[in-house]
């Protein structure tokens, strides 16, 4: 298929610089229907007309944002109010959305509402269904947001609040939201094709295969580390184990209810599930208060990890309706509720933050929570919320099949990611609203804190942090308030966020007496998100593996072939289970060594996604606008490749996997029986083994990603040369078809859009969409 008229350079200059109506798009609209798009000239003139009210509004937003950034970044008072985080982020998002995303829309993507989306030309009433933009926004947001933005910012708070805040807010506007928007748009133009398929088409066999293997490995790492977060949150916590464990029978009940009792009553069963969930949290307190309950549900981390591995396998081979689908309803329900509630609480309570903008660890590479210098490790520690490659898999999955009009991709893709970034900011605020002493006591590995309140308090006070002086009693009291036996070394981010959230929420509803409830409520929803991600991730990975093996053994491509399905599921579960166990038993504190790998993996995936986008963009825009893709790609590539090189080559054992490996191997060879934080020879051998595996994983990731980036740059150069020589580029978009519907692009329709909607509404019902699809 040849190049689309709007894929060439002259079409772009035509439509954008002169504001003329582009009617050379090869689409013949049905003359009996009203226009399916607002005329470009009308839209442009509305965009470019600055009424005094509009100027005043944007000036006010800019001013408020500026003041908020000033309060956060320049004023160095004793404390800073959390409301400034809200203003700084929201104002920056609004400006990014109104101005930057429109630049991307106008010069790079050039959506055309006269063109039908897959939900229209492939409509089947099941997978391809036109969905109201506001509903789809919520749907897409629920699919991309999970535990990631709740965890990374908490861990990154080690360096103070400012580095994380800047990266979350600017990163999303210039990189994360751009990636989501581009992938969503390109996938939509290709009938909802997946990132893997697009990589294969655009980058060829080598680049495509490297992208596929990298994606598979990255998923394993991401699932394993998310699972590790749950294990760390539930270890030695009878209340948490009981209430999270109860989600399984609750989900099973919901599944049976929806399948046999009242099919399709999704809202009804979600409310029942939610009530049962609350009962499980409250009941958990009662059960953990009894002697038998405390004894029975008091599990160590290794036991929980094994439980999770067995659960992961069973959940991934059970039919979707029984466990995954109902829990997904519950998780979505909780997600939206929790986020709205947290935002309200922060705005109402407005906690004072005592954490400094830059902490003592900002300039060092040996922080106790995660090791490594600010650059690049802060940028990989906060992945979700700023730039998350995993989103590319969602943006090239369900969402493009549901989108109603091309112009709505800006709201859904770019806007949806801004929303996730806001979640990350709120998580950061919740985590830094607690005392810094408690923060470090909770997040440092047990090897440093010693595990008891006395040793932990002594260690925290010995750090010499300004304004930090904690008594063992404070730590014991906090644990008692949240209904836990101990909060020492509860690393992984989730417990810290839960304490912060409980701290804020109790000022909003319920007082200190409710703190234990809020703490376990927070643990519950994080566990719920993560378990859903673990299930879904295992399933997706299993299908990818089956398809890959299917290229050599065709039988594996049959998804209903049980032995193949079970074998591939087992392979994936063993892979992430091994990494999980490694993290749980790691003497150095699993999260502390593995979390950077999570961020690196996630952002390497982002680099892969952006590479594919670069290759596609090169075919449809002028060189001078390619920086929109090239800049975030360069950033992601520099950050992740530098971080990987540190992890591989750094001579500092705390940072470099192989340096650590060599140090421990040497200690073993010298016949030492304890070394650093490893107190036994078995522990030392574990470090040697773990660091070797982590090191090799880093090497594989970075090599695969570099292959993908190189092939993408080559494809880009070829495309630019072709354009310069006037040769057509191979276009993989689906052929353009005329749209037969209209819907506004943003949350609030413009005047022109309202007029058009009114015109469509006068059309007799029978005439709207008489043939949307066919079988």
């Amino acid at each position: 298929m040849g190049t689309m008229p709007d894929g060439t350079q002259d079409a772009s200059t035509n439509s954008s610089t002169h504001g003329t109506v582009r009617l050379d798009d090869g689409i013949v609209a049905d003359p009996s229907l009203p226009p399916t798009s607002v005329e470009d000239a009308v839209r442009d003139s509305a965009d470019r007309t600055w009424t005094p009210a509009k100027i005043a509004l944007w000036a006010a937003i800019a001013l408020l944002g500026g003041v908020a950034w000033f309060m956060l970044a320049v004023i160095r008072g004793e404390t800073v109010n959390a409301i400034w985080f809200v203003f700084a982020s929201v104002c920056t998002y609004l400006i990014g959305y109104r101005f930057y995303s429109k630049v991307i829309e106008r010069y790079l993507l050039k959506p055309n509402d006269r063109r039908a989306t897959p939900a229209e030309y492939k409509a089947d009433g099941k997978d391809y269904v036109r969905t109201d933009r506001n509903v789809l926004f919520g749907h897409h947001f629920a699919a991309i947001a999970g535990a990631g933005p709740l965890v990374g910012p908490v861990i990154a708070a080690q360096m103070g609040y400012l580095p994380g805040t800047i990266w979350i807010i600017l990163g999303v506007v210039l990189a994360g939201a751009v990636q989501d928007y581009l992938v969503l748009f390109f996938s939509m133009r290709r009938g909802g094709r997946s990132l893997g398929q697009m990589a294969r088409e655009e980058l060829g066999v080598i680049g495509g295969t490297a992208a596929l293997i990298a994606t598979l490995l990255i998923m394993v790492i991401i699932v394993a580390i998310l699972a590790l977060v749950v294990v760390n949150a539930l270890g030695e916590s009878p209340w948490g184990v009981f209430s999270v464990g109860m989600t399984i029978p609750i989900a099973l009940f919901m599944g049976v209810y929806l399948r046999y009792l009242r099919p399709g009553k999704v809202m009804e069963v979600s409310i029942i599930g939610f009530v049962l969930l609350m009962a499980a949290i409250i009941g958990g307190g009662a059960v953990a208060g009894t002697e038998w309950g405390a004894a029975f549900f008091h599990l160590d981390k290794v036991t929980i990890a094994w439980g999770l591995i067995i659960y992961g396998f069973i959940a991934a081979i059970l039919p979707v309706w029984l466990l995954l689908a109902p829990r997904d309803y519950l998780s979505t329900f909780m997600k939206i509720g929790v986020i709205v509630m947290l935002a309200l609480a922060i705005i109402v309570v407005r906690p004072e933050i005592t954490v400094p903008a830059f902490s003592e660890f900002a300039g060092r590479d040996n922080g106790p929570v995660f090791s490594g210098a600010l650059f690049p490790f802060l940028f990989v520690t906060i992945a979700c919320g700023a730039l998350s490659g995993f989103h590319a898999l969602i943006a090239s999955g369900t969402t493009p099949k549901l989108i109603e009009k091309e112009r709505q991709t800006r709201l859904i893709g770019y806007g949806g990611m801004l929303m996730e970034s806001f979640v990350a900011i709120m998580a950061l605020v919740a985590a830094i609203s607690i005392d810094r002493g408690i923060y470090f006591a909770m997040n440092a590995p047990v090897a440093l804190t010693g595990g008891t309140v006395e040793t932990a308090a002594a260690w925290v006070n010995s750090l010499g942090l300004s304004g930090v002086n904690i008594a063992p009693g404070d730590l014991a009291q906090t644990a008692k308030d949240v209904g836990e036996q101990s909060i020492i070394s509860r690393s992984g981010g989730a417990p810290t966020l839960a304490v912060g959230l409980a701290h804020i929420m109790q000022q909003f509803i319920g007082g200190t007496a409710m703190m234990a409830f809020w703490y376990h409520f927070a643990i519950m929803f994080e566990a719920l998100f993560i378990l859903t991600a673990v299930d879904a991730g295992t399933r997706v990975a299993r299908f990818m593996l089956q398809d890959s093996i299917g290229n050599f053994v065709p039988k594996f491509k049959e998804h209903s072939w049980r032995p193949g399905a079970w074998l591939c599921t087992a392979v994936m579960v063993v892979a992430w289970g091994a990494v999980l166990l490694m993290g749980v038993t790691d003497p150095l504190g699993g999260i502390n060594t593995l979390f950077p790998l999570f961020g690196i993996a996630n952002q390497l995936l982002a680099a892969i996604a952006l590479s594919v986008c670069l290759a596609i963009a090169a075919k449809r825009t002028a060189l001078k606008y390619l920086w929109i893709v090239a800049a975030p790609l360069a950033l992601a590539a520099v950050v992740t490749i530098t971080a990987s090189f540190y992890k591989i080559f750094s001579p500092v054992p705390a940072v470099g996997y192989f340096a650590n490996n060599a140090a421990f191997a040497k200690a073993l060879a010298d016949g030492k029986t304890s070394f650093g934080t490893a107190k036994t020879q078995a522990a030392m051998e574990a470090v040697v083994r773990n660091s070797m595996i982590q090191g090799w994983l880093s090497i594989i990731f970075v090599v695969l990603s570099i292959i993908v980036i190189i092939t993408a740059v080559m494809a880009t150069i070829t495309a630019l040369r072709n354009t310069a020589a006037g040769l057509p580029n191979t276009e993989h978009e689906d052929p353009a078809q005329a749209s037969r519907v209209f819907a506004p692009a943003g949350f609030i329709p413009t005047a022109a859009e309202r007029d058009l909607v009114a015109e469509w509404n006068t059309l007799p019902a029978g005439q709207r969409l008489e043939k949307s699809g066919h079988h």
Binding site: K126, G138, I144, G148, R259, W321, T332, G397
Partner: protein, 63 residues
């Protein structure tokens, strides 16, 4: 009072849309609009079919 009820109904409708509770209604609308001759799936059949198709086309959930 009516305004409050309408508000609650709006929020419930929105949440239902996000969860996908209106999938069957949409399927029926599509079935009608596209001029199929055969009868549509019943509600029970539709949801069963939907869940079974999800078994073979898993959707990722993000982190």
């Amino acid at each position: 009072m009516n305004a409050v009820l309408a508000g609650i109904r709006g929020v419930a409708g929105y949440l239902g849309g996000v969860l996908g509770a209106d999938a069957y209604t949409k399927y029926l609308a599509h079935h009608d609009a596209s001029g199929h001759t055969g009868p549509p799936l019943t509600e029970r059949e539709f949801w069963r079919d939907r869940a079974d198709r999800q078994d073979t086309t898993p959707q990722g959930r993000c982190c």
